[in-house]
Structure formats: structure tokens, C-alpha cells
Assembly symmetry: C2
Homo-oligomer: 458 residues x 2
């Protein structure tokens, strides 16, 4: 692979840093010129090398529209930490220049009082737009949508569509499709800009439009929005009120961010970390310690029962000390088998490949899988026991336990995410470590039970 | 949350199933009518309820263009399994009707001989286009791009741009931006269709265009493409030859699929499953058994060393039997701590938040984190040991070991993905179970070493 665009641009951008620092020291307002030729995403890379005070000097001196462009490409939490240090009138000016959806995302970061303060200083139209978006629940379509979309009356023609698109384009609204509405703003169809361009000017909208375009509602969860956008390969999806009236659109670039964010959340939960809201290095030490520590402590308490089980079997363990050699192996094998099942089922639920109603089918498959894999590990474990010269009884105990524990792990690991989903909890909290801990405890129980049965020790 | 669009559409689609079955039985060609009003993605939902033979009857009787639309919305592997059963002339007809990028993705599934056979029966232009895409490596921009894009000569005006867009639209090419090229097809800039529409017809392209649009090269890895598309919020990204000439474009809807696919691959690796190429239920039992079994066996071999360590310490264990009670707890805590670090660092590497050059900073943070979290668990473990009445010596051994093992786990879990990335291996194979197994072994070693030191038992 050759040098990619991302890397080479980054290097070019960093060459501008001395110029920027010089401008900030001499005449901060002149720094705006440096950003004119840069994509805002590159502008964010450039200022990320600055101290917070330098960024604040920059924001206080360049036009609010420039600051708005830069902050729209920052993590919302990072942008908030900077903006909260600026006078609220300036923040209001900056927010007025942002796209409504980006502005709402940023305003959501503010404390209630700060938010009210900033909103009160925005122009009425922008204030009302922002307040309307903020009234929707977090992580719903209503919060993510922008109210800047182009409609065409259903009586119109291809020429009307082009004229409407041109008007929208002059407002710098991005658009791909035009939404066909009746007199009550109820969505009746969709026509892509391409279709309007390709048609004869006097062709009727009703003859051109797609009458049943994919859509979501203001309270649709963002994961479901992502699924609709991905399933139908959409560039933008219309968001409707329950009356059927157009409320906004969500564009696919926001969905890309959501998919990455949801992927990170799932990965963190699967690794038994409470999802971080910010990037790794931007998360405070104690916040991260808390988000990891709470899970570690919970897992610790669960695993503690292994000691209780071992204590109850201490007579047998003293009698057949070789059993101890396999304790870590037996519990780890069950835990690994469970972690695999939990991962597969959680991810399949997230992508919609598996549904809760498939539970019986999944269970059947996982039991078969656990038995087969357990049989392989049992063979290895049996051989190892013979090599360690632990006696045939211990070898049989280990082999039988491995089959049981792999099967139980696979079953528990696959059913737990389905159960959580069923009761409305994110299945990803059935993380590998969590499933492994539960299988650890049952693994020890199984191991001791099998040993008791075979050795006939009380 | 109310009923979402996806669910209600699915229900509507399923109502058509009896009609479809009836049409297939009576007059298969008439079934085409049922798909006219359906989005192809919904059409795929509809036929997914059919038996393979029924689908083959359908494909053999409806126009190749209809089959092309449906197969473009299927998993490539599923579409291949169906198409390989059709005569190769028909497959060639279907492929000619597909977008070149979708066609190439599907052709890549075919065995070499079958592929050559189908290609030889395609029209020359389509064949050459497909062969050119297939010549690029899998998972690179060249393989994903479509050669259907619209260019504008750099000498042109806004009116030229609209005229070019209209011509492209009549070919049913999807487009968002027009790519400005010189006489050698070298990319010189980009103008969005919106900008062209908003401009006065006689405005010059050079005055309207963005002169440095984000771009990728034919050999750029698909993960990097996704990163560029996401960073710059692009709807489409131009793909260049190394000469700078336009080779194709990649649209964001393909990137959405890639992001989901890469998310699944990472999740599977993190859960110690070799990534599946197909959805959960579409993967054969023995294929899945192999992809899970290979990891389970590898982890089994790693964990076996715990037994070796315990065997070497058997005198001490007989002497202080209470040490055994904490074996699962100590190793699980280290494993969990390591799994958390591995997850955080792997995901941060995937999203670009952390780079390999940050290794020292990550190590410092993880050591601090491991010490803090270890201290908390040590307190809990100490208390538990006192409650179990194991004696103060064991309580101290457990506490000290927990601090060491949490710190070691955090360090190993964070450094392993960075090391793998450095040597060019996917860091996600440093899965939670893999890191946990390695920490299991070192955890037992640490535990026994601390016990030896404190108990002074040889």
C-alpha cells in the first residue's frame, strides 16, 4: 500500500503550524486566512496541536462562521470544553452558523443552565429550530435529523423539482433526493435529483416519483436508522412525525459516525468496559478507572464463588491433589467456549442476522457445537492427564468435565445475549469476561461434581 | 419506540409470499410483476422465504435486469451459490445488467474456471470493465470502486457541469459530485452538483471547484477508505491511479457495508473466533466448528502451562491448602484486566484514536490503571481471605498477587495489540480470551512466586 491520502494530508497540514502560531501571536484575526484553503476536518487536525488557550484566542478572533465549521468536525465533547470558556453571546453566534443537527448535538453537551443561557441569545428562528431538535430523546432519529430538506408539491413537474433544488442549493443545503409532499406536508413519495435531471422538464412528479420510499420516525432508535440506511443503500432517509408529515432528513455521513460509535460501544461492552464517551486519551484517568473498576469488581464477586466451591471440596482435593492441576484449564476452556458463543450471537443480533425468535435454533446449534468442540478438548485433556501421570480416574474426570463445560459455556454464552435482548437490555453487556466468569463458577461446580461422582469421595 | 419502518415493511412484504408462490407454479415469468413495486432490498426479503429451487425458477424466467437488481442486494456469497446453478450465458446476461462494482464483487466469489467461463460470454465492454476491477487486490479501493462517474473539463462552466450531470443521470449513474479533470484525465478539482446548480450558468468551473478534494488511490486499503470517507463526511470519494488520473469513485453506501463488515470481523477476532465470511446461520456447522475449534485448542495449549506451574508447586500447595481457593479468582482477575486493556486499545487503533507511536503513553496510563484497579481488588481479596479464615499470610499473598496480576494484565493487554499492529498483523487477534489465557499462565506463576517468597517454602 502506498502512502494514503490521510497520512500525506496530515503531514502537509502540520507544516502550517508555525505560520498559525505566528499569526496568533501577531494578529489573531489574520489566522482565519490559513483555514480558507483547508477542509475543516484538516483544520481540526491543525488546531489539535495547539494549547487550549491558543484555540480560544483563535475562536475569539476569527469569524463565528469559521469557528462553526471547525467545531462541526470536532468531537462534540471536545468542542463543548472549548466553547464553554467563551462568552455566551459569541457561542450563540457560532451556533447560529452551524447546521441545525450539528448545533443540537453540540448544545446537548451543555449543562442545562448554560444551554438555556446560550439559547436565549440566539436569533428566534435558530433558537426554535435547536429547541425542537433537543426536545427529542438522545439516540433517536429526531435528535439526529436536520430540518433543512427540499420538498416538491405533488402537483409539480420535473422543472419544479429542479427549481426547488436550485433554491435549496443556494441555501447551501446538501441534498440528494427531493421529498414529494401534499398540502399537509405528508410524505407521498421521493424523487432523486438525478431522476429530475434526467426527465423532460414537463414530466409530472407523480409519474416520476418512488411512491414508497424507506423512511423512519422521529422516535426511531439510531441503530434502527443505521439498519434502514444500510439495507436500502440510502444517501439520506426522511424522518416523519407520526402523522406522516416530514420532520427532517438524516444523511448517511451522520450514519457513518453512528456506526463507528455503535461499533465502539459494542466492542467496549464485549470487553467488559462501560463504554467511554470520549476517545481513549481524552477520557480522564479516574473516569476510566471507574468504568473499568465497576466491571472488574462485579466479575470479582461472581468469581469468588469458585473459592466457596473449592472450599467445600477441600477433603477431596487433599485426597486427590492432582485434580488441582486442571482447575485453571477446565474453567478457562468453558469460559473461552462461552465467550465465542456470546460474541457470535451478540454481533449477529446487532447486524440483524439473528433474531430473538431464533433462540431454539441457536440453542440446538450451540449444543452441537459445544459437544463437538468439548470432545476435541477432552481428547487433548485426557492425553495431558496421562502424560502428567495423574492416574486414569483424574484423566476421565477431566475429559468428562471438559465436554460438559464446553457445552454449557456455548449454551449459556449464546442464550444470555438473546435473553438480555428479549428483556430490552443491550445484549453486548453479556461480554466475554462476564460470560467467562459465570462459566468459571459453573465449571468448578461441574468439575467437583464429576469428581465426586467418579471418586465416590463425600 | 414505535414500530419501525423496517419491521412494518417486512410484514407487508411477507403478505406477498402466497402470490409469488402461485405465480411461480402457474407462470413463472409473471412473477416479475410482483417485484416492480418493491425496493430490491425488500424483494430479497421476499425471496429469502423461498426454497433454492423456487428462486432458480424465478431467476430463469424473469428478465436478467430484475435478477441483477435482486442479486445486487444479496450477500455476494448467497448470490453466488444461486447463480452457479444457472447456465453461464444467463449469468453473463445478469452480470451485464449490474453496476460494475456489484458485478465484480459477485464475480470474485466464482471459482477461477467458472469466472473465466462467465467473463468470456459477457459483452466486450462489460467484460473489460469487470476484468479491470478484478485485477485489483481484494479489500482495496480499486476492487470497490465503480468506473461510472461524471467528469467536467477544467475549461468548462457551470452549464457544462449541469449538462454532463444530466447525461450521467440518463445513464442511471448515481452522482453527487462532478470531478474536474484536465486533458489527461488528471483530477484537478471537484464541484458538487449543488454548487453547479446554485451557480450562474456561465460561471467558470475553475472559480467554483474545490481544488484539493479528499481522494484515495486504487491500492488504498478499504479500512483507510472508510476512515477518509468518515473523516471528511463524504458521499463519494474519487479513486486515482498513481498518475493522478481518475479511475473510479466509491460511494458511501458501500462504505457503510464495509464498516459493518469490519465491525463484525473485529468483534469476532476479539471474541477469539476466526471471522466468519457469512452470517451466523449461513455458515456451515463444520466450518464454524473449525473457526472456533482452532482458537479453543490454541488457548487450551497456552493454559496447559498453568498445570505445569501448579505441579511444580505441589509441595507448597499441600502445605498451605488454602492457597488453592484463590487460584481461579487470581487468574480471572488478571485475565479480565488484560481483556479490558486489549479491547480499549484494539478499538482505539481501529478508529485511529491511538497510534503505534503512542505506545509509551499508553503503557504509562495502563500501569497506573492496573495499579489502581489492582489495589481495589486486593482490598476485596484481602477481606475475603480473612472471612474465609485462611490466615493472614494467605491474605497478604492474595492481595499482593492481585495488584501484580492486574498491572501485568493491563500492560500485556495494551501492548500486545500495539506490537501486533507494529509488525503488520491485525491487532484484533489479541482477543480477550487470548490475552486472558496468557495472563492466566503468568498469573499462576506470579501467585506461586509471591507465595514462595512469603511462606519461605522451597
Amino acid at each position: 500500500m502506498t502512502e494514503t491520502n490521510g497520512e500525506s494530508r496530515l503531514a502537509t497540514v502540520q507544516l502550517l503550524l508555525p505560520d498559525l502560531r505566528e499569526a496568533l501571536a501577531a494578529d489573531p484575526a489574520s489566522a482565519a486566512g490559513l483555514f480558507e484553503e483547508l477542509h475543516p476536518a484538516d483544520g481540526v487536525d491543525l488546531i489539535s496541536a495547539l494549547e487550549d488557550e491558543e484555540i480560544l484566542t483563535l475562536f475569539a478572533n476569527i469569524p463565528p462562521a469559521d469557528t462553526a465549521m471547525l467545531t462541526a468536525f470536532m468531537e462534540a465533547s471536545t468542542a463543548y470544553e472549548l466553547l464553554r470558556q467563551l462568552p455566551s453571546e459569541l457561542v450563540a453566534d457560532i451556533l447560529e452558523q452551524m447546521d441545525p443537527d450539528d448545533g443540537a448535538e453540540l448544545l446537548a453537551e451543555f449543562e442545562d443552565e448554560e444551554q438555556a443561557q446560550v439559547l436565549s441569545q440566539m436569533e428566534q428562528e435558530d433558537r426554535e429550530e435547536a429547541a425542537a431538535l433537543l426536545a427529542h430523546e438522545e439516540e433517536t432519529a429526531g435528535r439526529l435529523m436536520t430540518p433543512q430538506f427540499v420538498t416538491v408539491p405533488i402537483e409539480g413537474t420535473a422543472a419544479t423539482a429542479i427549481e426547488r433544488a436550485r433554491a435549496g442549493a443556494r441555501e447551501e443545503w446538501s441534498m440528494h433526493s427531493l421529498y414529494v409532499v401534499d398540502e399537509n406536508q405528508i410524505l407521498r413519495g421521493r424523487i432523486t435529483l438525478m431522476e429530475a435531471l434526467a426527465a423532460e422538464p414537463n414530466e409530472k412528479i407523480v409519474d416520476l416519483m418512488d411512491t414508497d420510499p424507506p423512511k423512519v420516525y422521529v422516535d426511531t432508535d439510531q441503530e434502527e436508522v443505521a439498519r434502514v440506511v444500510s439495507k436500502y443503500d440510502l444517501i439520506a432517509v426522511p424522518v416523519l412525525e407520526h402523522s406522516g408529515a416530514m420532520a427532517g432528513i438524516i444523511t448517511v455521513d451522520d450514519m457513518v459516525d453512528i456506526l463507528i460509535e455503535e461499533g465502539t460501544e459494542d466492542a467496549h461492552r464485549l470487553g467488559a468496559v462501560e463504554p467511554l464517551d470520549n476517545p481513549y486519551f481524552a477520557t480522564g484517568f479516574w473516569e476510566m478507572a471507574w468504568k473499568r473498576g465497576m466491571w472488574l469488581c462485579l466479575l470479582f464477586f461472581v468469581t469468588m464463588f469458585t473459592g466457596t466451591v473449592l472450599q467445600h471440596s477441600s477433603d477431596m482435593l487433599t485426597h486427590t491433589l492432582n485434580l488441582i492441576l486442571f482447575v485453571p484449564l477446565v474453567i478457562a476452556s468453558g469460559g473461552n467456549s462461552g465467550a465465542q458463543s456470546a460474541t457470535l450471537v451478540t454481533r449477529a443480533l446487532a447486524t440483524g442476522e439473528v433474531k430473538v425468535r431464533d433462540a431454539v435454533r441457536v440453542a440446538g446449534r450451540e449444543i452441537g457445537m459445544g459437544l463437538s468442540l468439548g470432545f476435541v478438548l477432552a481428547t487433548l485433556g485426557f492425553a495431558r492427564a496421562i502424560l502428567w501421570d495423574t492416574g486414569h480416574l483424574v484423566a476421565w474426570i477431566v475429559a468428562i468435565t471438559l465436554i460438559c463445560v464446553c457445552t454449557w459455556g456455548a449454551l449459556l454464552g449464546s442464550m444470555l445475549p438473546l435473553l438480555l435482548k428479549k428483556v430490552g437490555i443491550d445484549p453486548a453487556i453479556a461480554s466475554s469476561p462476564f460470560v467467562a466468569s459465570m462459566v468459571d463458577v459453573s465449571g468448578i461446580l461441574l468439575y467437583m461434581a464429576v469428581a465426586h461422582a467418579i471418586l465416590h469421595v463425600p
